[in-house]
Symmetry: C2
Subunit: 254 residues, 2 copies
DNA sequence: CCTAACTCCGTATGCCTTACGGTATTTGGT
DNA sequence: ACCAAATACCGTAAGGCATACGGAGTTAGG
């Protein structure tokens, strides 16, 4: 990756504030960058990131493979642009209520987004591109807890904490759904295949606590693991912990 | 994936309890499954999962490409076996101290493991293979909070919470380290390249809170983001939240 | 001693990204 | 009005990947 490529990708990311840099000579491009991104997002939504290829994006637009490279420098950069693009979809509603309610909205927005675009969880961003929608969202997320009593440092750490947990939780849920839907094997069917083999392989009595806890979880949930409920459980614990931190602070003006 | 493949992979995972199923005719295999896994782990450690290929595993053993397929059914299954293999490396020390201290050990073990084998974070396990080391670890993790006052359901949710958060936190840290080390671009250098471009592209004054918080974080940390510290921050909040749940429980015998 | 079973491997298929060069098209400059 | 530069689009090819298939050599059970 060259220095100029950084410049080019950042310029593409922020194209709405400066306009797409395009020379006036030569033929006009048949599509806009936005249309290429929408095609890419559609492919990724339908087939996931491993099956995402430049050829499929080109096919969807009626272009030939190599023409895509006149719009974006490479596959990785295209994906980076797609990420910032979908981050602009949900909009940023004005904050209301307590910081708990606000943070719930923040977390729920991420959770929903990961379910709308599961491939976001498969993106390996070695380099975090700083785009307009990501920047807007981070500002909005910080605004959710502005004035709640956190220090600046804690504000960053809190948003990081919520984001990290939500990401991991959504990852587990999406993986479970993918296993159930894509392979046509439900949770119960999967266990039906695995259980007899495991019965034969596992040393009997080796997992007393797991067995007990697993049975309890299986009876309580409608599935082996209810990710939605685990998500709310974790969120509630984290909120209680943040509450405790704010409440026990020496100089706390509310 | 056929039904028989499930059987074969599970049998390979639990090979230590039943032995590797091998017919007696024909030539003996030059290597053991363990040696193949060690070769695979070495390749993944050195080059990461995207660059992990069957050819490189074969080269490392002095075998030709296709011979690997007589040891493991496919690339995905090999990776699944590698995952369970590394989960057996650290051992499971006996639990001591309070549940807070125990859960800290549990989280720290995962955190360290992700840093020892960063490719674990890149594994896309559409199907969670149930292997001996993973099962042993889950049992050990549950034992850490056995008798602390959690219900069976909460035990599972708590371990999930700690695991989810640790995974996401480690992912952020590993990504940052990779960016710094692998590309030879330090945190400061990356900003030195990006900042001038962003100064030109970003609408001035658009990000007041981000600017203030980012400055605070930059001054407090030695880097832009101190993942180790964010990790401890999140863990402390979660522990406080769990503490609050246990303390406010109606029938709480301690 | 024969043959079934097994290991190892050569070849081939069909994906993928992307470098490079060619051709057609558009427009600024003269 | 015309030329040359710039640009979009695309064909080809190189080099990578997983893995299906079949063949050659090797071992041991009957």
């Amino acid at each position: 990756m060259e220095n100029g490529d950084v410049d080019r990708t950042l310029t593409l990311l922020w194209r709405r504030t400066l306009g797409v840099p395009q020379g006036s000579r030569g033929p006009k491009q048949r599509f806009s960058v936005d249309e290429v991104l929408q095609a890419g997002i559609a492919v990724a939504d339908e087939e996931g990131l491993p099956a995402f290829s430049m050829r499929k994006v080109a096919d969807r637009l009626g272009l030939k493979l190599m023409s895509i490279y006149t719009y974006v420098p490479s596959r990785d950069e295209l994906i980076g642009l797609m990420v910032d693009e979908v981050m602009g979809e949900p909009g940023l509603p004005p904050h209301e209520g307590t910081w708990r309610e606000r943070l719930t909205v923040v977390a729920r927005q991420m959770w929903d987004e990961f379910h709308r675009h599961p491939w976001l969880l498969q993106v390996e961003q070695s380099r975090p591109w700083i785009g307009p929608n990501g920047s807007d969202r981070y500002e909005w997320q910080l605004a959710a807890i502005e004035g709640a009593g956190f220090t600046d440092l804690e504000m960053d750490q809190t948003i990081t904490l919520i984001g990290d947990f939500t990401t991991a939780s959504a990852r587990a849920d999406v993986a479970a759904r993918r296993m159930a839907e894509q392979s046509g094997i439900s949770d119960a069917e999967w266990w039906a295949v695995n259980a007899p083999v495991l019965d034969r392989l596992m040393p009997p009595g080796a997992y007393p606590i797991s067995g007990r806890v697993g049975t309890a979880a299986g009876e309580e949930y409608n599935a082996v693991r209810d990710s939605e409920r685990s998500f709310r459980f974790g969120l509630d614990r984290i909120f209680d912990g943040l509450d405790h931190m704010l409440a026990t602070r020496p100089s706390n003006d509310g």
